[in-house]
Symmetry: D4
Subunit: 256 residues, 8 copies
């Protein structure tokens, strides 16, 4: 029942003397705040509907804060995850939070399981070995969200044959996440081989004029290949969420 129908129903009940105007005010008081509660619900629904985990960004939070947020969240959500969690903190958490799993490369901790399984495959490609932690943040996030992930590591552009020998895997992906530091040229080349959406993740890997990932970021933004969306430096999590949104849309289409 939408807002309009609800309003009609309440007013009709008053008219018919089923409820008093006072009771109506009480019911519609709620209604007047509704658009906000509505937003909140949308927000909540969105979480539930997507089945995406509740997520805690651990940076700048104390261990105590993380624990208590996790406890609250696990009540509401079948799956809870925390990103950017240092191994030391993870060790402490594991002694206090029941059933906590920790993925050290991705620096992600998780509780619970995701029951939703989406159709479609996210292929995650990295330029170098040093980009792995960011790529794994993407991979684990996507898997915890219910997506199938394929990993293609260490296929940087300086030895283009490494990439080309996997071009069929690239051609078959539904969404691509391409992770690269240093000059960050990989997404341009990959996007030229692919015919699906490409998410580019610059990493802070490099030295000197890489300026903490700025070089890779600019490369990706200036790509002459089309169909590329860029996320923040080292934001493996964000790339996975965008990939997830894309596949969720595709799943919605396939079900309609």
């Amino acid at each position: 029942m939408d807002d309009h129908n609800y309003l009609e129903k309440i007013l009709s009940e008053i008219e018919q003397g089923k409820i008093s105007s006072k009771e109506g005010v009480e019911k519609l008081k709620y209604f007047s705040f509704e658009p906000i509660g509505d937003f909140a619900k949308i927000d909540h629904h969105r979480q539930l509907r997507t089945g995406f985990p509740e997520v805690i960004w651990s940076e700048g939070k104390t261990t105590e804060q993380i624990i208590s947020i996790m406890q609250v969240m696990r009540e509401k959500s079948p799956i809870v995850m925390a990103t950017r969690l240092e191994p030391k903190i993870a060790k402490i958490l594991q002694t206090q939070v029941h059933d906590l799993r920790y993925y050290p490369m991705a620096k992600i901790a998780a509780i619970g399981q995701n029951s939703v399984k989406y159709q479609g495959k996210i292929l995650i490609v990295t330029a170098g070995t040093a980009d792995l932690p960011v790529a794994e943040e993407s991979a684990i996030t996507a898997e915890l969200c219910g997506f199938q992930v394929e990993r293609l590591w260490d296929v940087g552009v300086a030895g283009i044959h490494r990439l080309l020998s996997h071009r069929h895997i690239i051609a078959e992906a539904d969404v691509l996440i391409v992770v690269a530091g240093m000059e960050g040229a990989l997404p341009s080349v990959v996007a030229g081989l692919a015919s699906c959406p490409v998410i580019a993740v610059p990493t802070s890997i490099g030295y000197g004029a890489s300026f903490g990932g700025l070089s890779a970021l600019l490369t990706m933004l200036n790509s002459c290949a089309t169909g590329i969306g860029v996320v923040n430096i080292d934001n493996g999590f964000g790339a996975a969420m965008l990939a997830g949104q894309i596949l969720r849309l595709a799943n919605k289409f396939s079900q309609s």
Copy 2:
């Protein structure tokens, strides 16, 4: 004669004893170049399969170059478009290129029609009036590619009610392109209201510390909302292409 046929022919000639296996090796050594043609075909197929127009980036090209590229492209593709085309040049083109349409706000010229029509809707949202040219570059590109576009102009975050009063439109979009200059905060707010992929386009609108769009770009990259992919400053075309790739994927899923 394509690669496959050539290979068949050579092997058949060996089988029939017309040439020796050694001669065959010699001829097929050359054949190792083949996969390149293969790539070219993939590339070509991609164009055909997607039905996306052939595109000319007009900047830094002479009028003569644009005309001759258009003539060649129209042979191969039912639809050809040129972006970043100044009105003055467009006027000249229209006297020389048959059936050329020009979209002045978007600075796009096009020939032919796209026969493919995709399911799903791209909602393009702008923060201010001055962002319109970039938004129209997105809109016209998407429409020429065969997508349905809805426009929601001038709903910047400083008067949040303007945006909120259209939240149902946002909630119903399949892909969102959010265009904003100055502080570029709109994508963060929109992504919080939406549950679909969001493409953020920073524009160079602003002055002083906007530094030609850098401010809006950084805002979008640092968004605390998830599910956002960012393209280059003023890259309305690129945003449309990414949106197109996302919807094409969804259409593919819906057809499978």
Copy 3:
């Protein structure tokens, strides 16, 4: 009558049979959008209550657009102003918009008068002659909003006596707007002499390592003096609006 009372009144009228539920829905339909309409009203009220003019930022708008927006706005507001309006455009506007005044130094055009007059004085201080256009943008904006403005021009820090000889004027100001390009050091010194809020406006005046006002901007942000708020480079308008908000608050207090 506030929202709650209005709701009670309508529902009571239905209960009493004064109006039908259908009429109630009609009346409350408006009410159901209320939270948005409410924002809109707040927004509108804010404009009315403050008596601040309706403002058009002219950059990136065509002459036609500016004219039609002005025509619409003058219906709603006793005073309408347009900023960043080039003299050439102003000349055209004056032939088509009735009673339009133009302030060439400030590049502001205005229609109508502000009837509100606020208590308190805004002192605008500039470092150099070249900063005048930005300072005048502040001054005219503030005057059009109903504030008293005093101007203190050309008292840059390199000849500190020029500033000191006016320290009583500074001490007596209610709000200070300090406008400076090049090294932008004036706000720091002025804030040390004043005991009222200081708004610092960096200008793009300078060359070489002033980097279009960046130097002045950084200086002002890093000021070791307290009580300074900084606005964007060349944003004389914004400084006046902040000064206006501060004095409006003070006027509200003085009336309560």
Copy 4:
């Protein structure tokens, strides 16, 4: 002997014929030092008049220096505070400085009480949990200066309903301090909902392209909302001082 007494003495000697007026001129030429003492006094008066605490910026000072400055200041002022004081140093200080209070989140130490209580309320709003230390620096500073502070934490723009559900609190504030890292979009949205002066504080919270708070800073400077003054990255203290100046002005108006 202070300037005033010295002037009296010289003039008295002339009156008594002890020195000639010419000798007096000679001596009072030297008297040009006077205004300096005057400035110093103004400065001192300002401190006393405002009742604002004497403040020590602890960074780059040794524990010994901080202690001895505190001891001197407490003689002159009923309230002394030190900002940016690390917990370790605070512990040492507490063993040596009588009656020292420490606010760990705000990293502020204070001695004494502020007897002045100002009318009006400062509402401090933060985008995320990680912005709390900066926000608390603002809050504690404002409270130590004698202002009422209300806190509204964790209402970032990505979930706009969180902010909107508190819009009445925002509408009722007399001065707003809005604290945000990452994309720093919160002040734009808040300023659109408020009708009072807004002070924007960018924080260094974020990673990658946040470049230590630069992203949030640029966002705030480029805000399309009006009535916003920006302070340095992480400068919670400065924001509180500006808010204080604004409310002091309003209090002065209300008393006049």
Copy 5:
């Protein structure tokens, strides 16, 4: 009546019994303005004492403003100069300002003669031909201030012998102004050959990664040679003024 006369008048009235010392104190309390006049005088004296010309920075001033400032200044000073004056404006000025000389390369206009002649020589050295305008701004400024200037053009570091073949001239200079764009390496090499103060002037000559003179500026600031002071990009005038101050000091010493 100036401050000095006023002071004499008051003291004389006390001496004469016309007013009491108490009345005098009252009147001279106001006299605390005095030092300001004093500063102004100091400032004026400085100008007179140094014999340096009164200078007008022409950028951002109208032709009318420049003319009227020149007229006023020529009353007070035997020599008046205007920098950064475009040839077009100079032509107009010459029709209206009596006896105006124009130095087109330096973009300086001047009236009158400097009677002071300082001992010592300023050697101005440039890296390339394109740096000449900045170097000439230095040279003409210094000459108008009464200094002897020697010019050494086009001795950039890429052909070090050109510089070395003039090393005796460098060794004999009293002050060096070294002007260079592009990589800006010349001051480092020159300072190694000289035993006098070196003033380094980066120019905006270059392209690409010279970023408008930033490259040359950074080079000069990071010089591993000692005894170098750097001025703003293209600030030939400022370099001459610093050189002038240095030689004025040396002349003062030689006369004492």
Copy 6:
């Protein structure tokens, strides 16, 4: 024999009457002027020996200056060239400088012929059509210096097959100059395919976050491929000179 011994020998021979003082002067003339004259000579010899043309950088020079420098240079060198020469100026030059050829795409003018022909081939590769002017500056420079140049245009990484289909040409090059704007990724890929020195030239082609070539420059500096030397943005000339030096060395080796 070192300088000291040589000097002793000559002087001893004079003392012994073996040679006259005049002959000694002749022998030591070389010795005496050596350090400076030598450099000059080396410099001159270098020019002659390499057969590289005398070069004039036209930016910031008047037409008259260019003409007179050309006249002087043609006396000394069989070939003279001027870079960055606008077509308008070239037209004027052609009326006044005998036998001047102009290459409009490269913006190079030249007089005379280079008689030296070097062994080896420079392959110049560009990413896009808009990079042609920079590439042609390289090509014409190299040809005027006596090198064989092969051009491979428009093989950007977004369509990698275009590049791969020419990999034998790349493999056969002796030196590679790779010219690219926008994301500037081409040199990384090319260097991976080549086994010769690679010179990377970033161009200012692009918009938005390309920041005038900065993006391409950083990409090239951060390349994970080895054997790449980078020159300034748009510095086609410099790339050709470095390629020339490399091939001259190789020619020297092949002749020894």
Copy 7:
């Protein structure tokens, strides 16, 4: 069995009637992967042909990873090296990797010997003592690749005679690697003295406005001397590889 053999085998089988041409097509369809293997071989051949060592960039790799990569590489290559290896890790490696040598200044570890010895000499020049680690990374890399290296340390431009007194060494070099931090001016001067290719290596040595090597980098890119290729900040390894490529080319020419 390599690709070539596989092709021969299939064709031979067809010739011999063992399989049909149709079966052959099926098997060789797979063969279209071939060129990839081809690339891989090219890559491998390049390594073998050049005799350059297999190289591991140690940053961001665990000790275990480095060890296992080394073990694998030593199977394939007579010489293996790892760069950017911290002394602590080196100590551990030496206990586990047989015959590992460590060069502490260069932070390079190596196994095995290079049997190739190239003709020609690389001269490595540094501006200051603090640039030594980067220079040694170049030197050791070059030596391990089979090149002769000469070192010229501490000849910065501020004392130009130090450099000039070695000008004969510079004149005799075949390739120059010039390493400098701070203002980075040395390559410009050296290139002016040399007539061979110059590779410039900016270092991060410096403070303040050196911005981690940015100053030196910009200087080198903007050099007015020709024949200079620049590598990334602190990239001694890359400079050696480029120098190696240049000399390998020269050796190839000398052998042809």
Copy 8:
């Protein structure tokens, strides 16, 4: 007499038997090594003549290196100093280097005494307490070089009276070194009060948008006051050396 004539004269004298070849060598030794030895000598003489200490920049040098350089230098120079020496290293040095003094605030170590005493006074002024280490580096360097130093600490522009009350000290200085972090505005104000050369030293003191001293540096470069030379961020040593050069010149003039 130029070099050529001198050479003829010496050789002629040998020929005529007036001097022996050995005497000629002696005379021409000076002549022969001149171009290089001369520079070296000039360099050495410069050191001796100025009496400036030999200086070691300790950063990036091992304790052993510093000790051995000190030992060598103390042979040649009555006074040796090392800058940027951490207390820990200083402690070790004091056990091994005889008579070493350490100035902890300035982080300078020194051996020996400077016998030269120059006329004139360097006034060093700082904005804040945190700028002291840089100011002391200046002060101790200048004192070790034989100059009189006066210190004026903590007179930042936010409390301008603190500075003004010392304006006579400023007016009497011969050279001013002004040290400031944060907004770095002090040199502009001081230069307006002074009539002597001003050396501005930006410090890295500050946070947020001070960007490690960049803000203060830009402020100083953009100063609208004249007669200011700027040195690198935190370069107290360099400022003292420039001040020393200026005073040495003045002393030279006073002695001539």
